[in-house]
């Protein structure tokens, strides 16, 4: 990796400069992570007196555990749902805003601020609106004959957390799509127009393919967001329920480790999550590298 | 102010890249030295070793009487003007000039006095409160000069300081730099690509080639008596015509060869040393075809093709040539004008 051609000569100063970052990283990141790795291979008896080394038994148990398999499934649905909903709405907004000349900034201002709202708060806001007894939306849905109760209906609970999580993420996706759209060279669109492509066709054959690197990047970012940053949405609203319907992996690790005190299993779940983050990070960085190169 | 003494100086970059080899040079106090050479020959490397921006891997460097090999740039009492100026973009012009003085612990009023004086000398007083971004290229160049001048260093080091300016400004700044240096009498090293800067600025010219000194001398000496084939080709524009002895036949040329020094097999003739009429003294005769006539005001160029081997010959002429494009012509030069070289050693033979 590069440095400047000319550098300062100093024996210990660079280590001193790196020390705060590296020490914190080792104490609060690497050490706990390696603990998780280690604990994932152990099992404690019910009283915490004896620990035995069980190799990969914790992992094997997880994959035959219905609750864990269910959590994987729930996480997948939640991540895909959040990503799709948030990205498609954001793309629609970005395309529309990009057409505007005078009102562009005004719309942008109205669309960016949900980024600042904490996931937990986003959850509470939608939880309130969908509140089965006093919420506005259940009231409206009732007129269509739909009975909304996310406290007993798992699908509805899932829909609720997806909406809350996606709502918060619209701003982020919108800004990236808008930046992407603004970098599409206008001459290309004009060339396509001269070639006889209509508005819709121009979008899908010229603009959208040019957006594909950003779309891909956002997909990764959104999946990461939905998997790891939405703890608050779940915890402040459904708490994984009803009947495990919204028990995403991150929430389950927390419950099993903190409330259930099942350390070995919780550690094994942590390790699996780490593996997922590693894969997603690698994908994301390879992509960024490519983008830097062209 | 100080003299600079360079003894057996060499530089090998990481990865065994040799940039400069065994350089010896004594620069007198107050002298203006110009370093020229083709791209990649090590000019910047040499200058930056003197500045302390590159470590010296071989040899010794003295500024004044002090060996400075291991010293930081700031401890060498030199100032440098960079090609892209390297002005601090977030500081005003005033602070750009003052920064080096502040770091050296000058008192406030002394800093104020020096900055004002320097600004006045360079006519940048009205810009002192501006940031570099708000200046034109020429003005930035002046500020860069000012940052060097304000320190009153023992030596100025300038690395192609004018190459980012347009042609007209470059001429103007060239003259100003020359006048400034005459007035301040500060030892200066100036790196350039530009033939005109090289010929006009320096007291002495140092021609570098692949990390070695080819020749050192006053610009006019180097022009009139290039010591090697490399210098002969590199200095002068358009460059010197070089003929292989073997390609010059006929009794006239055979006679001329007798008057050339032992070992000569390459004959060099500058474009302005060629004549349309044969002189009375022993001379060279070149039978050519006229390829192109290029009138350019005061000095025009005639491009010819030598019949014996088809090589291109450039001749400087005043006014219309006697023969039209496509016609045959013989041109001449007295043996006394010939720069004789040996192709194996690459050196001059007289």
């Amino acid at each position: 990796m590069q440095t400047k051609k000319m550098t300062f000569n100093h024996r210990w100063l660079p280590y001193l400069l790196l020390a705060p970052q590296v020490i914190i990283t080792i104490i609060f990141f690497i050490w706990p992570a390696s603990q998780a790795l280690y604990q994932s291979l152990l099992r404690q008896d019910a009283f915490g007196f004896r620990t035995t080394f069980v190799w990969f038994d914790n992992f094997q148990r997880l994959f035959v555990d219905d609750l864990y398999v269910n959590s994987l499934k729930v996480t997948l649905i939640f991540a895909v749902g959040t990503t799709l909903l948030s990205m498609s709405v954001a793309l629609l907004f970005a395309v529309m805003v990009n057409k505007m000349i005078r009102s562009r900034d005004a719309y942008t201002t109205f669309l960016v601020w949900p980024y600042a709202v904490a996931p937990a708060i986003a959850g509470v806001l939608w939880w309130f609106i969908f509140n089965p007894s006093i919420g506005i939306l259940p009231y409206a849905l009732d007129m269509f004959g739909i009975n909304w109760n996310h406290r007993s209906n798992g699908d509805q609970a899932m829909l609720l957390v997806i909406i809350a999580a996606a709502w918060k993420q619209i701003s982020y996706n919108f800004l990236f799509f808008l930046a992407g759209l603004q970098s599409v060279p206008h001459s290309l669109i004009e060339a396509a127009a001269i070639d006889g492509a209509g508005r819709v066709k121009r979008f899908w054959t010229i603009v959208f393919p040019l957006l594909s690197p950003i779309t891909f990047f956002l997909m990764v970012v959104n999946v990461v967001y939905a998997m790891f940053d939405t703890f608050g949405v779940i915890h402040a609203t459904t708490e994984g329920g009803p009947a495990q319907a919204t028990n995403i992996l991150v929430y389950k690790v927390y419950r099993d480790g903190f409330v259930g005190m099942n350390l070995g299993s919780s550690a094994a779940q942590s390790v699996i999550l780490m593996a997922i983050v590693v894969v997603l990070t690698v994908i994301q960085f390879r992509f960024i590298e490519r983008r830097v190169n062209y | 102010m100080a003299s600079i003494k360079i003894n057996n100086l060499g530089k090998v970059y990481a990865g065994d890249v040799r940039a400069v080899e065994d350089i010896n040079l004594d620069i007198a106090d107050g002298e203006f030295i110009v370093l020229v050479g083709p791209s990649g020959c090590g000019k910047s490397t040499l200058l930056r070793m003197i500045a302390g921006l590159e470590t010296i891997t071989e040899g010794d460097l003295f500024i004044g009487d002090k060996r400075v090999n291991g010293l930081e740039p700031a401890e060498r009492d030199i100032a440098m003007v960079f090609q892209n100026y390297a002005l601090y973009p977030h500081m005003t012009v005033y602070n750009n000039l003052a920064y080096g003085l502040k770091n050296r612990g000058f008192p406030k009023d002394e800093i104020e006095k020096r900055v004002q004086e320097t600004a006045k000398m360079l006519e940048i007083e009205q810009f002192l409160d501006r940031k570099p971004r708000a200046l034109s290229g020429g003005q930035r160049q002046r500020v860069a000069m000012g940052r060097a001048l304000v320190r009153e260093p023992a030596a100025f080091l300038l690395d192609e300081p004018l190459s980012n300016l347009d042609a007209k400004l470059r001429v103007q700044m060239r003259l100003e730099i020359k006048q400034l240096q005459r007035r301040l009498k500060t030892t200066s090293l100036y790196v350039t690509h530009d033939q005109l800067e090289a010929m006009t600025l320096g007291d002495r010219l140092v021609v570098l080639n692949q990390g070695n000194i080819e020749q050192v001398g006053s610009p006019i000496d180097v022009y009139n008596r290039p010591e090697s084939l490399f210098v002969a080709e590199f200095i002068g524009s358009p460059s010197m015509n070089l003929f292989s002895q073997a390609d010059l036949d006929g009794p006239t040329n055979e006679n001329a060869a007798k008057h050339l020094p032992e070992g000569t097999d390459i004959l060099g003739l500058r474009p302005d040393q060629l004549l349309f009429e044969a002189p009375d003294t022993p001379h060279i005769r070149l039978d050519c075809k006229v390829a192109l006539y290029e009138p350019a005001g005061a000095e025009s160029h005639l491009y010819l093709i030598l019949n014996s081997n088809g090589q291109h010959v450039t001749m400087r002429v005043h006014g219309e040539p006697p023969v039209h494009e496509g016609g045959d012509i013989s041109i001449y030069a007295p043996v006394s004008a010939v720069h004789p070289f040996n192709s194996t050693s690459g050196r001059r033979t007289d």
Binding site: K4, L13, F29, I30, M96, G232, M274 | G100
Partner: protein, 282 residues
């Protein structure tokens, strides 16, 4: 524009106005709800027009807290959030600037190794190592403290990489010129590097303040003493704590207060925010 279709524009405006309404709606409802007395929520649906109890409700959550809302007064939690967010932001910026400076402007043994250690933080978010991290913090006696709330979160690969990237774009000659001018590493950092980085610092400041303010899982884990509750996690205790229906008017007043500071930061520093977001790429 290739062709300016009038109906197309009207359609676009319609979609956008509808979209903006959709985005704003939850917050509008929250603001409205926070202005009603508690009685309103006992019958029927959430009101859509403001009530007259705004002052009363906000005063209650701000200063009375516990007895009526089931939490400490919000003012304390707001303060805690602010301290935590500022500590995280300043901490992240400082240590990232220092590490980037070391990585770009020094050559030393194990440089690459340290770079990878910092890179690892990207792959290890708190969420995947909850229990062991909690154990470390507990062992260090940092539970229920501001140090515990902030220090474990201030390692930042993102900021380090951004500064590294920015430093690499600063011309080589900037360092050379300042060395000729007599600046050592500290002077160069303070007089040249920091001032040149100021927009990047400001942009990251916005992003990281929001990140710090919105922390949820971490304060939830390590605070049991209500004096260290932060507002974002505090809300959860109001919503799910107890068996009865939450006191919605007070919850919503709290929600509004909790969301306000970061939203204001974004609105007032939109340009920096967009720069920070799109340039850090995460």
């Amino acid at each position: 524009m290739v062709e300016n279709n009038r109906w197309g524009n009207i359609l676009a405006h319609t979609i956008l106005i509808f979209g903006v309404a959709l985005v704003v709606f939850p917050v509008y409802v929250a603001i409205i709800a926070s202005t009603h007395p508690s009685g309103t929520f006992l019958r029927g649906t959430i009101p859509l027009l403001p009530g007259g109890e705004a002052w009363e409700n906000y005063k209650t959550v701000m200063f009375e807290g516990r007895s009526r809302a089931g939490t400490p007064p919000i003012s304390l939690m707001l303060w805690n959030s602010f301290v935590m967010a500022m500590a995280i932001t300043i901490g992240k910026l400082s240590i990232s600037l220092l590490s980037a400076f070391a990585i770009v402007y020094f050559r030393f043994p194990f440089r690459l190794f340290f770079f990878w250690i910092i890179f690892l933080t990207l792959m290890l978010p708190v969420e995947v190592r909850i229990v062991p991290t909690f154990q470390v913090v507990a062992d260090l006696g940092m539970l229920n403290s501001f140090a515990g709330l902030s220090i474990p979160l201030i390692a930042s690969a993102t900021a380090t990489f951004l500064f590294r990237q920015f430093f690499m774009t600063i011309p080589e000659e900037m360092l050379e010129a300042s060395r000729v001018d007599g600046a050592g590493p500290f002077k160069f950092f303070k007089d040249i590097l920091l001032p040149l980085s100021i927009t990047n610092i400001a942009a990251l400041f916005v992003i990281m303040f929001i990140y710090g303010w919105n922390q949820y899982l971490w304060p939830l884990l390590i605070t049991t003493d209500p004096n260290y509750y932060t507002i974002v996690m505090g809300i959860q205790r109001m919503v799910t704590g107890g068996d009865s229906e939450p006191l919605w008017h007070l919850v919503m007043a709290t929600v509004v207060l909790a969301a306000l500071p970061p939203v204001l930061v974004i609105l007032f520093m939109q340009r920096l925010f967009v720069k920070g977001l799109t340039e850090t790429e995460k």
